[in-house]
Subunit: 217 residues, 2 copies
């Protein structure tokens, strides 16, 4: 079977470009690997049927003849390693690519998500406005550290773009529209370079085109 992932039939306008099927799509495009997408809706994603494959009621999931997994990080690593793209041959460099992929997911994304949760999903809570500055302060701390680590280089490891960069660019892309990266022009440029890769451009176009009312919206 063609490797198949899940995506959403529809999400609100503000979420388009941010849903995590984009990460799997990007990895497939980097690999030059044909893939299929099963679009599911907001009710189905929370159903017990879907939770058998994704316990947290989310997308994407990934499936081929051998493997069935969830977690965008695991999916991206699996697609890239299987196709031997964005995957360093040297074992030490491969370990560092894994390190950066996990750093994106565990040391950076929780801070990016905290801002979205506070300012969007908890905007109506009575702590949201008071807490905003602290959330931004913590996020800026991480971004400063990351900027220092990048140290003016083109990629996190200083060499070829890896699946670790793919994940970090995607996580930082979650800040699109917030203005937060305006204070970190080097990180903004790093994200822009990643997003300008032809594989990302194609993946994002397909992601945005997948929503059933994309033309009308």
């Amino acid at each position: 079977m063609t490797p198949t992932i899940t995506g959403f039939t529809w999400v609100p306008q503000f979420a388009r470009g941010f849903v995590r099927d984009i990460r799997a799509r990007w990895a497939f495009e980097e690999a030059g690997q044909a893939y299929a997408v099963t679009l599911i809706d907001g009710d189905y994603v929370k159903s017990q049927t879907h939770r058998r494959f994704q316990p947290f009621g989310q997308i994407p999931t990934y499936r081929d003849d051998q493997v069935e997994i969830f977690e965008s990080g695991a999916i991206v690593m699996y697609i890239c390693e299987r196709a031997n793209v964005l995957t360093p041959a040297d074992p030490a460099a491969r370990a560092r690519a894994v390190q950066w992929l996990i750093a994106a997911l565990n040391s950076v994304e929780p801070f990016v998500m905290a801002l979205a949760i506070n300012d969007i999903f908890e905007a109506d809570r009575d702590w949201s406005k008071k807490r905003h500055d602290k959330v931004v302060e913590d996020l800026n701390g991480r971004l400063k550290d990351l900027s220092d680590a990048l140290g003016g280089r083109a990629t996190l490891d200083g060499g070829d773009f890896t699946f670790g960069d793919l994940m970090m660019v995607s996580v930082l892309g979650g800040l699109r529209g917030t203005g937060v990266l305006d204070s970190f022009p080097d990180l903004a440029a790093y994200v822009a370079r990643g997003e300008q890769r032809p594989a990302h451009v194609k993946a994002m176009a397909d992601h945005l085109a997948s929503f059933t009312d994309a033309v009308a919206a």
Copy 2:
């Protein structure tokens, strides 16, 4: 050289048993791999010297003759795969072990950390008490999903204990003392089984003994 990780010379009593060098120690013990620990202090961990190896000013870092990495998730995977322990031979099962390791770090730990941040590190903020119930509600949602996924089995994948289980047990162990797992006896039992593994018992004892005033405390 002997593989070497970093740990802290000292942390407050409430943090003992929770610092992430425990994860690397546990993996080393599962592998039967001798290792060394360089203990560093709270000033050094934030220094530019240390940040060259760990950009976010944290521990653990890992170093051997070939590899130098940070991120506990990457370190655990590297130690286990190198020693071929807790690592499924079947590629599909290995992909699922990666999936669970990343699920622990990206889909569960941010909710565990949110509780610790709100109730400990932000306890003096004027939103902390108001926000507590929402933080617990979100965490409980994830734990309910995870409990359903475990489905009464001994391990997340239903087979041998993998590095994915090691990480999930360690992440859930972060709830020790909060009472949150009292509502999820199956998850509490899963954590207890993991923590009773001889490798974890040894790793935790060494972790606790490492603090310079551990005897006096």
